[in-house]
């Protein structure tokens, strides 16, 4: 299935876009998607952390992505 992913901060710079679609298999976890992103875009491996938020919330690594989920790549935060 196809899911939409938002990208912020340095993740947006790495991808060159703030939103993109990605084809994922049924039953894929957020951890697997992060690994896929890291293998496609080596720059992600250099970051302190890369998380995938789902529907505006942090989720566990083993969260299985559902059709319609809004995913967002969260590089290390630095607000405040």
């Amino acid at each position: 299935m196809q899911i939409s992913i938002l990208a912020f901060g340095i993740a947006r710079d790495i991808l060159g876009t703030s939103t993109f679609d990605m084809e994922i298999k049924d039953g894929q976890t957020v951890a697997e998607i992060v690994d896929e992103l890291k293998s496609k875009y080596a720059a992600f491996n250099k970051l302190n952390s890369v998380l995938l938020a789902v529907n505006e919330d942090y989720v566990d690594d083993d969260y299985i992505v559902q059709q319609g989920d809004e995913l967002a790549i969260i590089p290390p935060v630095s607000g405040g």
Binding site: L6, F8, G9, I10, R12, D13, K46, L47, N48, A53, E56, D57, Y58, A72, I74, P75, P76, V77, S78, G79, G80
Partner: protein, 136 residues
């Protein structure tokens, strides 16, 4: 009140917003943009937020703080976009009956905000720019 804004933050306005007749103390934390980082001159800062999630995460932090301390009223406002040096990037105001709670809650909120809220800061130097905390 929780707000992400591209406009300058007015502390008097926030103080009015958290005013409460039972409050004996308000602690206000103001995070301002500094002119240097590790000795290197910063000329400008740029903030970006995943706004709806940032607001939810700030709300979670305030809810946790409210379980730990007596909070009568609060305001958390964070700037996004270009912020000039010396300007307010974040302002947190907490009104409590007694002052110990105000200090503790305010410190807790800024400490946690820096850990979990999806907001990113890009520092611009004369010779380039960097996303803060991104790399080891």
């Amino acid at each position: 009140m929780i707000r992400i804004t591209s406009q300058p933050i007015d502390v008097n306005e926030l103080l009015d917003a958290v005013s409460h007749p039972g409050a004996g103390a308000v602690d206000i934390f103001v995070g301002t943009t500094r002119d240097n980082t590790g000795g290197k001159r910063v000329v400008k800062l740029d903030f970006e937020a995943y706004e709806p999630m940032a607001i939810k995460e700030i709300q979670k932090i305030v809810d946790r703080a409210s379980q730990l301390w007596t909070i009568l009223n609060y305001a958390v406002v964070h700037r996004v976009g270009l912020v000039e040096i010396g300007q307010k990037a974040v302002v947190i105001a907490v009104a409590t009956p007694h002052r110990e709670d105000a200090f503790l809650a305010c410190k807790f909120i800024i400490d946690e905000l820096k850990k979990t809220v999806p907001i990113w800061k890009k520092e611009r130097f004369e010779d380039g720019e960097v996303w803060v905390s991104a790399h080891p």
